[in-house]
């Protein structure tokens, strides 16, 4: 398990919005079931003094940290304000920020990630479902009922496709150590390389599933840099060139980032690549 445990205190920004409030309730329900700390405070500028499902709301992250212990932030603020919110969390001293928000201008993301790095803060996302370590902690919006405790790490650029594959793993009796959605945007804080390095140091994780998409070369870079056993699934083999597939991250770059050549490059490195999501558990069984 990586990026936090039962003891991790969580602050949610954009707490009073529809999404923020809904997921504070779900995260705290999960924390209650596993005996964890959960969300200790919410932040929405101008809404100090309110409560969201029993969680006190503050005007700023700094105000919240004056009253509560927390090391992780989860963002539900709108796209235009999300870069700012990442920087606020990092500047106030949080060591992990999970940015659920989609449609963030990519320049905002780049500036926020640079600033967070200078403050020793890891950013997961943006445009991601967050992370879940079964039995320990849920940071974000992943549907907990599909997960089970075990020794498989999962890293994914997608949201719902992650749930699909986690469901396949759980049905096959392969529990998960931590499942991380790193986000579908072209620029993201934690890449496959970063998260694989953390899994590599994690005693609980024996093998990792990486779920990639057309576009970029982050999957290959990650596979090259790690020694932990990997199974990959890459979506978008039927994607037409130069078409946007919902995520900006799925823009095909000059024929290099297409799914087929990405799969070939991974196979050349000795990575097992599943041709369908349902093949993933069988390939994992082969590895461990």
């Amino acid at each position: 398990m990586i990026f936090g445990d039962k003891k991790t205190g969580v602050i949610v920004t954009g707490a009073t919005g529809h999404q923020g409030a809904f997921h504070i309730a779900l995260m705290n329900e999960y924390a209650k079931n596993v005996g964890g700390t959960g969300v200790v405070a919410g932040v929405t500028p101008g809404k100090a003094g309110q409560e969201v499902h029993g969680v006190p709301v503050y005007n700023s992250v700094r105000d919240a940290l004056n009253e509560h212990d927390a090391s992780a932030g989860v963002l539900f603020v709108p796209g235009f304000a999300a870069g700012d919110s990442i920087m606020e969390c990092a500047g106030a001293g949080l060591s992990l920020v999970v940015a659920i928000t989609e449609h963030i201008p990519v320049h905002d993301t780049m500036r926020a990630i640079s600033y967070a790095k200078m403050n020793d803060c890891n950013v997961i996302g943006p445009n991601c479902p967050g992370l879940l370590s079964p039995g320990e902690i849920k940071l974000g919006i992943m549907p907990a009922q599909l997960f089970s405790r075990g020794h498989i790490g999962v890293i994914s650029r997608s949201g719902t496709l992650t749930y699909e594959i986690v469901d396949e793993l759980t049905r096959a009796g392969l529990g998960q150590s931590t499942v991380v959605g790193i986000g579908g945007d072209p620029v993201i804080g934690q890449t496959f390389t970063d998260v694989l390095a953390k899994f590599s140091d994690d005693q609980k994780t024996k093998a990792v599933v990486i779920i990639g998409e057309v576009g970029g070369a982050l999957e290959e870079e990650g596979a090259k840099a790690t020694d932990i056993p990997i199974v990959a699934y890459i979506a978008g083999i039927s994607a037409p060139p130069e078409k946007r597939m919902g995520h900006a991250g799925a823009i095909i770059e000059g024929g290099e980032g297409d799914a087929r050549s990405k799969i070939e490059r991974l196979k050349a490195m000795g990575v097992q690549v599943a041709s369908r999501p349902s093949e993933v558990p069988r390939l994992i069984h082969h590895l461990i």
């Binding site: 990519v106 549907p143 719902t160 620029v187 998409e213 597939m245 900006a248 349902s278």
Partner: protein, 361 residues
């Protein structure tokens, strides 16, 4: 969103980069009035958003005597199926040497990447493949105000120093315009200085609003309608319509269709939240393409309310068959609503896809 050449050049011109003298016309007759102020030799460039424009006949040479005739010819052409509505008429440049300059985003380092090469023009991709070292690179974090002088020196190598200021000006355009790509190819030296002979600018779709752009021209009418509903939508050439939630799951559904020998006609990502009306609009939009013979709905997620999805599918009232895979809350209720109306609901996404491929074969 891609900006057309004449618009990109206007932006570069405002930043202090020299651009060719020229005029934009929307009919051949408009050129007549501009003729006296134009140089003897001109080049006419169709303002269309297609790659390989020159090879496809979108760029024509002319002189004062035949410029209007040439414009008539160009306006009557289709450039890779795109009609010519605007033409940029420019001076023909007296080129000493062509260079390549572009600024883009490097996903791996999460920084800005500047590329410069001594050989510009249409062959730059060939250069990239055959002699990657010929393209010099520098990367810097977007929080920098300027490109440091040492990077400019590294990028230029032995190229003339007068090219240096263009690098910084293009970087400022890149930052100010929320660009994903700012490219000058070729950047040329001429007897009267350094000139951006062609220009390309792509603006981040997530920044269009703050850039004052209200209509995303890259989208077709159906794509724009989809965007209005908050869907992302892409059209393909097969017979199966696909509706999913999340880009990855939707793409994976498409891949499975291909795996089982079918072809998708289009796909729509409904995004987060699947209330009755959203689902109804999605089903109607996907079914409005005449080639769609069957529709696959693949919705998965802890917070997707299956009863809402079922009501949305039923109320769309379309003629094509809809095959549904649903997982989420109120699953039983949703399944009952659909099965009462006779919809097919296999358990897994593979089974859903198999049924649809069989139906459309």
């Amino acid at each position: 969103m891609k900006i057309l050449e004449y618009e990109a050049k206007k932006v570069l011109g405002e930043s202090g980069i020299t651009i060719p003298e020229g005029v934009l016309i929307r009919t051949p007759d408009e050129l007549t009035a501009h003729l006296p102020s134009l140089p003897d030799n001109v080049v006419l460039k169709a303002q269309v958003d297609v790659g390989g424009r020159g090879k496809a006949g979108g760029v024509l040479m002319a002189d004062k005597t035949n410029a209007v005739e040439t414009a008539k010819d160009l306006f009557s052409r289709m450039i890779k199926n795109t009609p010519v509505k605007e033409v940029l008429v420019e001076e023909r440049l007296d080129i000493i040497h062509e260079y390549y300059l572009s600024i883009a985003i490097d996903r791996s380092t999460r920084q800005v990447l500047i590329l410069f090469a001594d050989a510009g023009g249409v062959e730059i991709e060939k250069v990239a493949k055959e002699d990657p070292a010929a393209i010099r690179r520098a990367s810097l974090p977007l929080i920098m105000h300027d490109v440091p002088a040492f990077m400019v020196r590294d990028l230029l190598g032995n190229a003339p120093k007068e090219l240096g200021p263009v690098i910084n000006r293009l970087y400022h355009v890149f930052v100010k315009k929320d660009a994903l790509l700012a490219e000058i190819n070729p950047l040329v030296t001429t007897p009267r200085g350094v000139i951006a002979a062609d220009a390309k600018l792509i603006i981040d779709d997530n920044s269009l609003k703050r850039q004052g752009i209200t209509v995303n021209r890259d989208l077709s009418d159906r794509e724009r309608e989809a965007e209005r509903f908050g869907f992302s939508y892409v059209e393909l050439e097969g017979t199966i319509g696909v509706i999913g939630n999340g880009a990855g799951l939707t793409m994976s559904t498409l891949d499975l269709i291909e795996y089982y020998g079918g072809r998708a006609a289009n796909f729509l990502d409904v995004g987060g939240g699947a209330e009755q009306e959203r689902v109804m609009n999605a089903v109607r939009l996907v079914s409005s393409v005449p080639s769609v013979k069957a529709i696959v709905v693949n919705l998965l997620g802890g917070i997707t309310r299956c009863d809402e999805v079922a009501k949305g599918i039923i109320s769309a009232g379309i003629s094509q068959p809809v095959i549904v895979r649903l997982a989420g809350t109120n699953e039983e209720e949703g399944r009952k609503l659909l099965s009462d109306k006779g919809y097919q609901m296999p358990d897994t996404m593979e089974q859903v896809v198999k049924v649809a491929v069989e139906m459309t074969r």
